[in-house]
């Protein structure tokens, strides 16, 4: 499956789950800020991606709420170095450079882009084929 195929299927999933138009779902669009995704939409999106790509997405993998709500990794509403290391380890497919500059927990959802979702799916498909 090419990257274009992955993007096209992710786009369909997001259009159906979020009720947005095709042309709004660009690679750079952020899930929350641009596409208006709410936390419960991620459950819907996960179901659609699983079905569309025949992959399994474990709880907390696409949206790591277990790290973002863990007192060990959160200090004064910000993710500490240990937490950032954990996030990078768990989410190697996400570009966290922007988030690292000001790692406020609430900002996490805002930095997630359509490209990040595509990279995540590609990593899952790659794992399936390996």
């Amino acid at each position: 499956m090419t990257n274009e195929d992955v993007f096209s299927k992710v786009q369909t999933a997001l259009v159906d789950a979020l009720g947005v138009d095709d042309d709004e779902v660009t690679p750079e669009a952020t899930m929350v800020g641009d596409l208006g995704a709410e936390s419960i939409d991620f459950l819907d999106i996960v179901f659609r991606l699983e079905k569309s790509f025949d992959i399994k997405i474990p709880r907390g993998e696409l949206f790591p709420e277990d790290i973002l709500t863990n007192a060990e990794y959160v200090e004064d509403g910000k993710i500490n170095d240990e937490g950032l290391a954990k996030l990078k380890e768990k989410l190697p497919f996400f570009d966290l450079s922007e988030f690292e500059r000001n790692p406020v927990v609430q900002n996490f959802a805002n930095i997630l882009t359509v490209s990040d979702i595509c990279r995540y799916v590609e990593s899952k498909i790659g794992a399936n084929q390996a």
Partner: protein
Amino acid sequence: MRWFWIDHFVEFETGRTAAAVKNVSLAEEHLHDHFLGFAVMPSSLVIEGLAQTGGLLVGEHYQFNERVVLAKVSRASFHFMARPGDSLTYQATMQDINENGAMVAGTSHMGDRLQAEIDLVFAHLPSRENDERELFDPADFLAMLRLLRLYDVGRQSDGSPLTIPAHLLQAEQAMEAATDLN
């Protein structure tokens, strides 16, 4: 008074599909004033009825051990309004279910006529330490399932009757024993 928006199940196959009947009556107060002088079944309550049909289908899959909540109405289109005297049949079909939640596709029919198409997402509330509160009292919940005739029509995928989960039966017996003592 309970928030019942289905009258009873007419079909229930575990993990796959459920159908329930809703008879619309002018005796229901919400029909009187929704549109004054034009009594119709509010569409939001058709969604609620399908959410109850689908939600119990989802809950039964894990023997009602998960706390199931309606998370999202993904799609709702209505083709005509149901009026007093109409009988609606809500059909819920499981599209997907896992430990996080479930997706259910639903329809409402009046006879052969498609009245509404409603897709729903349900979430399983995660269990947290020190918070194992039930959404329902288990004995009351079983009484509701019996009232809705779920176990009269419920079937396993091989056609054998659905069995009532042990934890619900135990709660019912405990309640009966406590009532006898009083």
